[in-house]
């Protein structure tokens, strides 16, 4: 039992908690993460030499205490885990992981896997979204947290979701010029917000960011529709033109743009493992199926954190702990059931709250469906929305993997992680089918691009 080889994928709050819990019970898991330091996206740490400049309180705001507890707890594990930072998984098979670290490939064996790979920004293309100066909200946040730098002197934030307000708040708080925060949803003026109150503290924090921004004179507009990113003479981002709910348009100048529409679970590894998926219609994305204890459809694979279901950092910690406990119970550790049940109850409550958030910040599927033909859809392969729609019309196809084969949308470097959500919406609307029937974009190894020299065992 103690020899069970457990690999945890991801060292964010979910993976870190899973690791601590397994160690508590005498196991020595392998923890794999692409980043150089643990913490994941939310508790991302600056390089050590920057530590002094930005104390935790400044970096994580409300979450500083939690961040501290996690970082200290995880760092304290020391040699009781096999921790592998700077390590990218490029292939996964039953019992085996293929990873790249220090420009070399390596194979690791596993008996059980905890998948906690987190989430990434979900975007919808807009005219000129591929020019320099345009970032996702997550990237804007990384610049600030890990590099102590800003994406520009004056930034327009647009999109929807809690992250929109959080990142804008963090920028403003750091003394940076936030030109405007433009939300496609009507939050928080919608009546649905009332049901959010059951979410208590998290919701209060969300409102706090909005209120803080308003109190500090940052312009926020709700119910907007982005029209185009305007360009400077050198072709970089110069601002955003958007439409107000009343139909009038306005352009706000800026030197950088950050945008995003909520998060998208990182599901490539689950996909390669052939796990079962379901379509979550509130969230409008495909997610791995899990039982009431967070087990996937495969007996030896457990799901935790945002990679399983977008629930935020606190729930990531809870579900990470639970995944580890359930795993332990499955390999014969007794007496864990009460703890598991208590965690499950908390997670269920949180799910209800999260659903309310998702309905307050709906993914603007219509924006994708209504994109103009000249807009780039797949930037890796340079395919426009128009070319994609032409293929739909010409072939009569609306299944996303068929369309991928015909148009190259999703065959490039990111394998559709960036454009996939919108491609599905376009396939469904132009192909006149429902979003579920447009299907799920399937990934192929490598999970992330790898240089041939690395695979060949040569150094570049």
């Amino acid at each position: 039992m103690k020899n069970e080889k457990v690999a945890i994928i991801g060292a964010g709050p979910a993976g870190m908690r899973a690791a601590m819990t397994l160690v508590e019970h005498g196991l020595r898991p392998t923890v794999i993460d692409e980043s150089s330091m643990s913490g994941g996206q939310i508790y991302r740490r600056p390089p050590r030499d920057l530590d002094a400049f930005r104390p935790r309180q400044m970096l994580y705001g409300f979450e500083a205490r939690k961040a501290g507890a996690l970082h200290i707890g995880f760092d304290g594990l020391g040699d009781t885990i096999d921790y592998r930072p700077n390590t990218t998984i490029w292939s996964v098979e039953n019992g085996r992981l293929s990873v790249v670290a220090n420009d070399a490939v390596e194979t690791l064996a596993w008996d059980r896997l905890v998948l906690a790979p987190g989430a990434m920004d979900r975007i919808v293309p807009v005219r000129n979204w591929t020019v320099p100066g345009v970032y996702t909200l997550g990237a804007a946040q990384i610049a600030l947290k890990a590099q102590a730098s800003s994406i520009g002197n004056k930034v327009v934030f647009f999109g929807t979701g809690p992250l929109l307000y959080l990142v804008a708040y963090q920028y403003a708080k750091a003394g940076l010029d936030v030109a405007a925060v433009l939300d496609t949803s009507l939050f928080p003026s919608v009546p649905k917000a009332a049901s959010l109150l059951s979410g208590g503290l998290t919701f209060a924090k969300g409102l706090y960011h909005v209120a803080w921004l308003k109190a500090h004179g940052v312009r926020t507009v709700h119910g907007i529709r982005p029209e185009e990113i305007t360009l400077t003479q050198t072709g970089t981002a110069g601002g955003l033109t958007f439409r107000h709910p009343d139909g009038s348009t306005e352009t706000i100048k800026a030197s950088a743009i950050a945008f995003g529409y909520g998060l998208k679970a990182e599901t490539q590894i689950a996909d390669l493992l052939d796990l079962e998926f379901f379509f979550d219609s509130t969230n409008r994305q495909w997610l791995p199926v899990q039982d009431r204890y967070g087990r996937s459809s495969c007996q030896s694979v457990y799901l935790a954190g945002d990679g399983a279901w977008i629930r935020g950092a606190d729930m990531a910690e809870l579900s990470g702990t639970r995944a580890a406990l359930v795993l332990l119970a499955d390999i014969g550790v007794h007496g864990l059931l009460p703890r598991i049940d208590a965690l499950s109850a908390k997670i269920r409550t949180a799910d209800r709250f999260r659903r309310a958030i998702e309905t307050s910040f709906p993914f603007p599927a219509h924006l994708a469906a209504q994109l103009e033909g000249e807009v780039t859809l797949c930037r890796c392969e340079g395919v426009t929305v128009g070319a994609f729609r032409d293929a739909i019309a010409q072939t009569g196809e609306s299944e996303i993997n068929r369309l991928k084969a015909f148009t190259r949308v999703g065959t490039g470097r990111c394998q559709g992680r960036v454009c996939g959500a919108s491609a599905m919406e376009i396939a469904a609307s132009s192909g006149k089918t429902c979003i579920q029937d447009a299907g799920r974009l399937r990934g192929q190894i490598p999970v992330k691009p790898v240089p041939l020299s690395t695979l060949a065992g040569e150094t570049r």
Binding site: A405, P451, L455, A456
Partner: protein, 382 residues
């Protein structure tokens, strides 16, 4: 029961081309495809459109196919990204050079022109090649195409000519009831005068329903593709022995194949293998050293039927009049597909074909016993 002149089982390139060629002649034809047309081997292959290096038994078919490839736009409404970029087969030793030279002499009898390229010319003309390369043989009229587009384009063209193309229609069983063929698709049966079996890696199963028992194995060529690179390489590359093949698409990506992944014919699943990908990367870099800086972005494989002697079965059934097979292409049936369909249409409608495929007859392998004299070292994937 709906009656057809011809029913085709399997909508890969061979089957879709057969459907087009039959329907162009005005005969009533139905094609039954278990999943989607061109979603199996025909849609996921390397995209090599190569005559050079083929076994001579395939040569008449390959020659005929090449003439169809050149006229795809007129035939199916799209060139399917076919370009006659040339196919350059490379030698690393004097012995291999001699092999290429000998092959060139025989290919001439079939009207196929090959140009030998010596040690100096190979550096001058193809400066991106690795040091181990001694020379090569180029076939200028060979080339490459985008496999994902081809079979579906044939299927659409066939439909426009009046063919009934049924997708998501697996054939469960078929038999001859003394008067006609009966094809069971589960919810209904179709009747036909003639039956064509183009079921790819599942072809031997269909054949066995009629007592034509042959061994057909499966293979899954392992394919890799890099990010798009600035265009530098016109011809598709192969090597003596066939351990790697490589091409650059007009789009810039470099596609290469090397080794085998794993395929499961029953679960319809195939996957590339990490260790095989790593070995393929080594071979690709040896062949074209500048690739060492390229990023691998995707890999895949497909399910292909493999015959022990490396040659497909094309022609009449052993046991049943009016039944024709074309399966087991062993990694190199993409180029042949268009002509295979044309030949099958002639068998079905005229009783014989103008193209000589006798060397591919099922007679050569009764009950899985391969006649040794047919096996040839020159066949390989792509």
């Amino acid at each position: 029961m709906k009656h057809y002149r011809v029913v085709i089982i399997g909508g890969g390139l061979a089957g879709c081309s057969a459907a087009l060629h039959v329907s162009r002649r005005g005969a009533k034809v139905a094609l039954l495809e278990r999943g989607r047309c061109g979603a199996q081997a025909s849609g996921v292959n390397f995209g090599g459109v190569r005559q050079q290096g083929r076994h001579l038994a395939e040569m008449p078919l390959a020659r005929r196919s090449r003439s169809i490839w050149g006229g795809l736009r007129e035939l199916v409404g799209s060139d399917c990204e076919f370009v006659a970029s040339g196919h350059l087969k490379l030698a690393c030793s004097v012995k291999e050079m001699a092999e290429l030279e000998a092959y060139r002499a025989t290919a001439k009898d079939y009207g196929l022109d090959l140009e030998l390229v010596g040690p100096k010319a190979i550096r001058d003309r193809y400066p991106y090649l690795g040091e181990a390369i001694l020379g090569g043989s180029i076939c200028h009229e060979d080339g490459q195409a985008n496999p994902r587009l081809v079979a579906p384009a044939f299927a659409r063209a066939a439909r426009r000519c009046g063919a009934d193309i049924f997708e998501n229609a697996p054939v469960i069983n078929a038999w001859h009831d003394g008067r006609r063929f009966v094809v069971d698709v589960g919810r209904e049966c179709l009747a036909a005068d003639k039956l064509i079996n183009t079921a790819g890696a599942w072809g031997s199963r269909v054949a066995s329903w009629f007592g034509d028992h042959v061994d057909e194995d499966v293979m899954a060529p392992n394919m890799c593709v890099t990010e798009p690179l600035p265009f530098f390489m016109k011809p598709a590359l192969g090597v003596c022995g066939g351990s790697i093949y490589l091409r650059q698409t007009l789009h810039g990506s470099v596609v290469f194949g090397s080794g085998l992944g794993i395929a499961d014919r029953d679960r319809l699943r195939a996957r590339p293998l990490p260790a095989v990908i790593e070995e393929g990367a080594r071979k690709a870099i040896q062949l074209v050293p500048r690739l060492k800086n390229a990023l691998l972005v995707r890999t895949w494989t497909g399910i292909e039927g493999r015959m022990a002697d490396g040659l497909p079965v094309v022609g009449r059934s052993l046991n049943v009049e009016g039944l024709f097979h074309a399966f087991g292409f062993t990694g190199h049936g993409f180029q042949l597909g268009p002509a295979v369909g044309a030949v099958l249409s002639e068998y079905a409608l005229d009783g014989d074909s103008t193209t000589d495929v006798t060397g591919l007859s099922i007679n050569r392998m009764v009950h899985g016993h391969v006649h040794q004299h047919i096996s040839c070292p020159l066949h390989h994937t792509a």
